[in-house]
């Protein structure tokens, strides 16, 4: 059933599921892609969004209020919440690396069965960009990963071992796909939820990494 879902619907489904895990008060950093969508589904009003280019208190913005000098890390226009503050890049990453951001929600290319992720480089191509991915992985109190369960060609992205360069030696805390939700417990993946329409058989089939159920 999930096989017939279009990409946008799938992304929103994942984003909505992630939002359920966010309990305020907390400060959350949203990566580019699916993570950005999570903001649309947050139910509590005491969740504050941090963007590493220098703003705590990110909100969405109406078209007519767009300010070209007010953007998020994906360079998309955003608004500022009541109680927001601006700061420079080193102060922003001090917050991240120093463990002051509660949750980082990131995309990933691959996740291994111990919870390590690869999300910044592909072998055989020039390594051209890393941005804040490595900082967020070492620093956020909790790291949630969102991604499609498989690649475009259907191959698993939850692997025994990452074949792409890892982003950090720190394991993530939760992984959200359109099929399943995993927690990382004692360096092992634990299936904690099946997404609507997904079956345990489908998850087993499309997951190379070992996981407990």
């Amino acid at each position: 059933m999930t096989g017939t879902m279009n990409k946008t619907d799938m992304q929103h489904l994942i984003a909505e599921r992630v939002a359920q895990e966010l309990k305020g008060p907390c400060a959350v950093n949203l990566g580019i892609g699916i993570p950005t969508l999570v903001a649309e589904y947050m139910k509590e009003d005491n969740i504050y969004l941090h963007t590493e280019n220098g703003l705590l208190g990110v909100t969405d913005v109406e078209e007519e209020d767009i300010d070209p000098n007010l953007v998020n890390a994906g360079k998309l226009p955003v608004g500022e919440a009541v109680g927001a503050s601006f700061f420079n890049s080193s102060d922003s990453f001090a917050m991240i690396r120093g463990g002051h951001v509660d949750v980082a929600i990131l995309g990933a290319l691959q996740v291994d069965e111990t919870g390590l992720i690869a999300n910044w480089a592909v072998p055989g191509k020039n390594i051209m960009g890393v941005g804040g991915a490595m900082d967020l992985l070492v620093g956020a109190k909790k790291v949630f990963v969102t991604m499609s369960h498989t690649s475009k060609d259907g191959s698993p992205k939850l692997l025994k071992e990452c074949t792409y360069p890892i982003t950090s030696t720190r394991q993530v805390d939760m992984i959200f796909t359109e099929l399943a939700v995993f927690e990382v417990v004692d360096s092992q993946l634990k299936l904690v939820d099946l997404m609507p329409g997904a079956t345990i058989e489908e998850v087993r089939e499309k997951t190379e990494a070992a996981f407990t159920e």
């Binding site: 963007t51 590493e52 280019n53 220098g54 703003l55 767009i66 300010d67 070209p68 000098n69 007010l70 953007v71 360079k75 500022e80 601006f86 700061f87 420079n88 890049s89 080193s90 922003s92 990453f93 001090a94 991240i96 690396r97 480089a121 020039n126 390594i127 051209m128 960009g129 890393v130 941005g131 804040g132 991915a133 490595m134 900082d135 070492v138 620093g139 360069p165 890892i166 982003t167 950090s168 030696t169």
Partner: protein
């Protein structure tokens, strides 16, 4: 002792062939568009450019890149300009890729007179290759060296006549750190006000860091970059 400069030539007089130049901005946001444009007109080469990105293809620092004036780029996200990869493949540019927090922190360290520092960011990854690893209180860190430069070209919102600076929203980003880390700091601003008009509690860059001020001739608007 006015630091207000009359023209781009004067503003860029400190930039010499072979220099290390810090260039502010996160993409176009907070980038010193006027000064970058001036740099593309200037006869210098072999520059080491420290900036989050090297512009976009054929825009901003991307022009400088295509003019073969950049010997080395130090940044966190070159992906924004596909030409960087092409040049790199051809061996026409050196690149040093740093995590964004490390890029920022290294400039702050340079400006603060530190030699370097130990960070958790990057430990055990390909970007840690060749870097010293050290365990401190049971946590692994890698050593990162401070960054210092000859010139910083930055963007602020308002300067007073002494050179105190305030920034505007997310256009702050790397600019205040670059102001700390270079021998000569040139800033382009939207507005120049009299000393005393900025709130002493809210000044982000004290004038001690600033050498020259020029009014921005190119600004980022909702419709893109516009000449003013």
């Amino acid at each position: 002792m006015s630091k207000i400069l009359n023209n781009l030539n004067e503003a860029l007089s400190a930039v010499k062939t072979g220099d290390t130049v810090l260039v502010g901005g996160f993409g176009l946001v907070g980038a010193p568009l006027t000064l970058i444009d001036g740099l593309t007109e200037k006869d210098v080469k072999d520059l080491t450019i420290v900036s989050n990105n090297l512009g976009e293809s054929g825009k901003g620092l991307g022009i400088l890149l295509n003019q073969n004036k950049i010997k080395k780029g130090i940044g966190s996200y070159f992906t924004s300009n596909r030409d960087v990869g092409d040049k790199y493949q051809k061996g026409e540019i050196e690149l040093e890729l740093l995590p964004q927090g490390t890029l920022a922190e290294s400039m702050r360290a340079g400006g603060a007179g530190l030699g370097g520092y130990y960070t958790t960011t990057g430990v055990g990854t390909d970007l840690a290759k060749g870097k010293e690893e050290r365990e401190i209180d049971g946590v692994k860190y890698i050593f990162e060296k401070a960054i210092r430069a000859d010139v910083a070209l930055i963007r602020a919102y308002k300067a007073d006549t002494l050179g105190n600076l305030v920034y505007y929203k997310t256009a702050r980003n790397f600019n205040p750190l670059m102001a700390m880390a270079a021998k000569t700091v040139i800033v382009e601003v939207d507005e120049i006000v009299e000393a005393g008009e900025l709130d002493p509690e809210a000044i982000v860059t004290p004038f001690i860091y600033v050498d020259g001020i020029i009014k921005a001739q190119q600004v980022l608007t909702k419709k893109g970059v516009v000449n003013v």
